[in-house]
Point group: C2
DNA sequence: ACAAAAGTGTTGGAGATACACCCATGA
DNA sequence: TCATGGGTGTATCTCCAACACTTTTGT
């Protein structure tokens, strides 16, 4: 009764998008080095970890995010499970698996999430699964472990879909922001220019974006009106 | 190094939508009875099985579909992974788990798919995981095992989204069909009436639906023009 | 002739796109 | 006064929703 079924490791990987006001970034980690005497050159990856005993998928995703960023209550969304057995079989991945996993040949499926964080609120730290962390600009993502480049690609697609419908994205802005700041963010995510007047019209229709009686201060040009985001 | 990580069973469950020209149905199974002397009353569920050794998720979903229907190359789409540990902990599910699973307390995550099949092409059969099968009309789904009612609900939502964008659904129709047949299908899926003239306008804009030089035969009314679906 | 479904066009409103100039502030 | 980004309106087009009658076939 047992042997037909796969011994499967389930992990959760998290594509963490960060915004610094100018560029869209992704949080990468250096996968933890092997214990003791095993020497491995560091490998870049998106943050992820195996799911723990009695831990739900959403819980695991939140745990990973919190370990790295200390943040809770962040926008987080499951978008796809990746389970092709070959996703973990490339030669580049073997050494790492042998050094780390109880059963290096095990089939690993991963449930992928993406989340949105303000880079100014975060100072990512090493964690149980990461020896080091770094923000990398969207257009400069290097080759990563396993199929992580593909996962990022899918995450970005999903993010764009949601942004086109203006249903998410505001999580990346400061509490108070101008319309131009939203527009820059959207342009970075969608990777195209948008028309200012039309964009402003469409944003002002949303009742989740509410105008404040305040203006920017300390800028070297006409100060913009400030808005805030109230999740519906 | 091992004990923090969960021993996880990964299953794939498949919400199989069937269309008979009139109603939208879902294929349910009676979960296989326990071996030998264990007596269990049959439980209804959506088809699913644990993932096998070296089997991809899509492969598992296709296998389940093929075992039940003998069909291959059917429309099949992953839509969500369900992994809350409590999804398998309800009392109603315990007897079955104890009789069947090596480790009844294991955490089970399931990756859910939905697929679209023409009921006239299928005579579902019992299989390694199903002692019996039945089509049940969408509005009459009974209480099912685990969280399967919820999974169906999510599948239907996703199906509706796709249908509203007219990106899928034609897989459910015969090779040659009339515009009215598509409309009936869409009305059943969306559970609402659509305007005939507007619907026809929108369908005729799609270049995946191509008009044939043929008409219905043997009907007791003005015969309709036939169309076929060419996936893009 | 009747029953049954096929087939067909127009109008009005909403939303998207394209497009160019003046304004307020700090340096 | 200059540089920088803030702020604004109109015309056009496309897409969607509402709506009713005539046509073709089999019985």
């Amino acid at each position: 009764m047992e042997s037909r079924y796969a011994k499967i490791n389930v992990s959760v990987d998290n594509v963490i998008f960060g915004w610094d006001g100018e560029h869209l970034n992704i949080l990468l980690i250096e996968q933890k080095r092997a214990p003791k005497n095993v020497h491995l050159s560091p490998r870049l990856a998106i943050p992820g970890d195996l799911v723990l005993v009695e831990e739900g998928l959403d819980d695991a995703a939140n745990r990973i995010l919190k370990e790295l960023t200390k943040l809770e209550g962040i926008y987080l969304r499951q978008f796809e499970a990746f389970g092709d057995p070959s996703r973990v079989k490339e030669e580049k991945d073997q050494d790492w698996l042998k050094a780390f996993r109880e059963d290096p040949d095990a089939h690993v499926i991963t449930v992928a999430y993406f989340s949105l964080v303000r880079m100014d609120l975060v100072n990512p730290e090493a964690s149980s699964f990461a020896s080091n962390t770094l923000w990398v600009e969207m257009h400069n993502i290097p080759d990563l472990a396993f199929d992580h480049n593909r996962i990022i690609d899918k995450a970005l697609r999903r993010l764009r879909q949601n942004v086109e419908q203006k249903s998410i994205g505001f999580e990346l802005l400061p509490e108070k922001f101008t319309l131009t700041q939203i527009q820059s963010l959207y342009e970075a995510i969608l990777d195209k220019k948008l028309d200012k007047r039309n964009f402003r019209k469409s944003i002002k229709k949303l009742d989740t974006i509410i105008p404040l009686n305040e203006k920017q201060v300390g800028v070297t040009h006409k100060p913009g009106q400030l808005f805030e985001y109230k999740p519906s």
